[in-house]
Symmetry: C2
Subunit: 456 residues, 2 copies
């Protein structure tokens, strides 16, 4: 592999290999700008993805191109960094080499920022019926399913079958589930309302299912309650304390775990469109390097984010488990960004022979989730010299809007996204409402006439 051959020419510089071009990996690379190292950033995709807005792609509000940018172009002016598109399959910690589908890449220092995938709690067979949202392909898949469901309902003769196409189930009441529910509701109530002749898109049933006692569990209960009220007001059925015990092409089976609320026993919701946002599982980074893990497969890292016994290997972002003040850090973009920036400092100090910076400490800027039009929740507990803040409604929504536009990487994308949103805001339109035939593979379309292509 050529990257290897060429790295030899820069041999005197320590070789830093970063695996993953998400927030963690990208900020680690950017943090090493100008440092006397030779960086190779590996990713199986050619783009960095602004994952917090992925649900907007899934609900046809934005195009993939608006929330993703080629990693190459982000790092094009950073002379000590090269980008290689390859899939990592393992790490040889003895010989200090990353094993990829395109050959081996030697490292002196390794940063693993490989993120997480969905976890179906041992029911991986559910994935084809209930995809989650991690990558652009996931979002495209979900978008096709949602739009196709309305198309199918429009031409369906039987009222029962129509209802199944117009029922949308979101599994998991975290920010993604809440955002998706809010977006689908808005789409059904406004965007699509004039488009069909045989169905009333407003009759769509949108069910948000959460096993725990409340949605948005990482927020204050008061904010969870406000979000629940907002969703209910906008036509979303919020079902808490309800566990999903089975998913198939007919829909989901629920088990009421809190007898008080809905009675005991099983309930089936018939739906062809189920979306999963209930659980994550770390990528196999910890396994590659033999690091100890928590039950979600995240590597338990040392206070400087290195792997115990391997000071030359760091694991950051969603792939890492790190406790602070007795609590694990949340798996969100700011955690990955701060970890990436910190690791860059550690590496820079090490190669320049300076003392290592103090151990990693996460600075919590607060937790923010948007629920729908003009409505978001924000919550920041006391600490770091800041008072407690809890916001809900329009102010939190305006905050959410500015934060997301500001942080959207791809820079020049900002204006375009803003304009797209402005248009969507005033017209309730969604410019990205395309169903692209053949593009989404593994799509599940239980129609009799045709079988869907499966290529995953």
């Amino acid at each position: 592999m050529r990257a290897f051959a060429n790295q030899g020419n820069r041999a005197r510089r320590p070789r830093v290999v970063i695996v993953g071009g998400g927030f963690g990996g990208l900020y680690a690379a950017k943090g090493l700008k100008g440092a006397p190292v030779a960086i190779t950033l590996l990713d199986r995709n050619n783009h960095h993805l602004f994952q917090p807005l992925l649900y907007q792609v899934a609900t046809a509000g934005l195009s993939p191109e608006q929330i993703a940018a080629p990693i190459r172009s982000i790092l094009s002016r950073q002379q000590n960094a090269e980008v290689v598109m390859a899939e990592v399959v393992g790490v040889d910690t003895q010989r200090q080499r990353v094993l990829t589908d395109r050959g081996e890449i030697p490292y002196d220092i390794l940063v693993l920022a490989t993120g997480s995938r969905h976890s179906y709690f041992g029911h991986e067979e559910w994935e084809r019926f209930a995809p989650g949202l991690k990558e652009i392909t996931d979002a495209m898949d979900v978008r096709q399913r949602i739009l196709t469901a309305f198309e199918m309902a429009e031409v369906e003769e039987s009222a029962e079958a129509r209802e199944r196409w117009l029922t949308f189930v979101l599994v998991g009441g975290g920010p993604t589930g809440v955002e998706m529910a809010g977006q689908i509701a808005e789409m059904a109530r406004f965007t699509l309302v004039r488009d069909f002749r045989h169905i009333d898109s407003r009759s769509a049933r949108i069910v948000l299912v959460e096993a725990g006692p409340r949605i948005l569990p990482s927020f204050h209960p008061e904010l969870s309650a406000a979000a629940t009220r907002f969703l209910a007001h906008n036509g979303v059925e919020v079902r808490t304390g309800v566990k999903v015990t089975h998913i198939d092409q007919e829909g989901v089976v629920l088990e009421t775990s809190l007898p008080a609320t809905h009675g005991q026993g099983e309930e089936r919701i018939y739906s062809h469109t189920v979306i999963w946002s209930a659980g994550n599982r770390a990528s196999p980074a910890a396994r590659w390097v033999g690091a100890p893990t928590d039950r979600m497969g995240r590597a338990k890292v040392a206070p400087d984010l290195s792997v115990p016994g391997h000071p030359e290997i760091f694991i950051i972002g969603d792939a890492a488990y790190f406790e602070q003040d007795g609590k694990p850090l949340p798996a969100v973009a700011p955690t990955a960004i701060q970890m990436g920036t910190y690791v860059a400092k550690v590496i820079r100090a090490r190669v320049e022979g300076r003392p290592q910076p103090p151990t990693f400490r996460y600075f919590d800027k607060g937790d923010l989730a948007t629920v729908g039009r003009h409505f978001a929740v924000f919550c920041r507990e006391r600490g770091g010299g800041f008072p407690r803040v809890r916001l809900k409604g329009f102010i939190a929504w305006a905050l959410w809007l500015s934060v997301h536009i500001y942080f959207l990487i791809g820079f020049a994308n900002r204006l375009l996204v803003m304009l797209n949103w402005a248009r969507a805001y005033f017209t309730y339109g969604r410019g990205a409402r395309l169903i692209i035939r053949g593009v989404v593979c593994g799509q599940h379309r239980p129609s009799e006439e045709e079988s869907a292509p499966v290529c995953r």
Copy 2:
């Protein structure tokens, strides 16, 4: 099927079924706004595509969402029209029914606007090595191939293999081939120039192959020559009088048909990225209804665009063959638009019991093709009371820009496309430079380590 059941309710209104939501079908539907008919527009995709800009999606300048709009939303306010997403498989002209993968749809009047696909002149096996550009999936496929080729070249050790990845062959010197060649050249010379560490993207070899004696054969020879000079100046090898006799995963084999220019015999160009724009073949519309065809499969239609012997069936756009003043009409968007508009008038007159308008006559507004930055050609022969006009260079380019932005359907898309172009213009950037794993099926990647998913 529900569309059928429901149409019964509007039984007294003549049922007009339009197959195809391209320019022809859409303008036919829009032309019938307010007419006392019940329109059903069928398309296998949910979107109308602004095909003249598809090459921009293929070369990562625009996102698919920017040049396509849901047919439903375009027709949402037209109460006499409904849209059904279904694939037509045939027509029963006896029983007056359209046969689709979702059931049968009865018609009183049928408009077939099903367009064309590529023709490989009997070598359909070439398609997997040399895709063409008709639908969004095609453009996404081509985009992936182009971007992936640079990625592969970057990590390739052998100079020979690298060269093959950096060689791009465009087969066919019509507007699409010329536009693609110009765009790839611009990408290689400007956009990507800082992105790679091991290759110089400017060293890419871009070959435009045309069997005839000159590129842009529908334009005046003077304009063809100007376009050739412009392309050559920008690093594109223009090879005219050269026939492609074979395509495989190693590249193309050329046969020099004009001994004078390049000597006789065979020549192989090694390339992993070959794009086809050499020939079209009409969709099977003519076959469905038993209409006479030309050798490209286009239906030879009557002067009112109906099928001889079937006054209730019209065939328009690329699927139709129509001679005017002894010459066949070009297969371009304006032809389809004018035919759609005309057919709507004929139908309206017929259902309102008025005399049919005079036979169809195409009004030629001129022929326009963009070659690259600041350079387009425009040509309009004398006729219709207008003088002859031939333009090349910046003025034609400015004209091209305004015409395309103006006609871009999707209305609100205009501002976004303009901004995207403005950004690309000033920065040479391409916001849509994403390689989406798993999204493009049937992609050909002749690497040893992995076999590409194939789902077509």
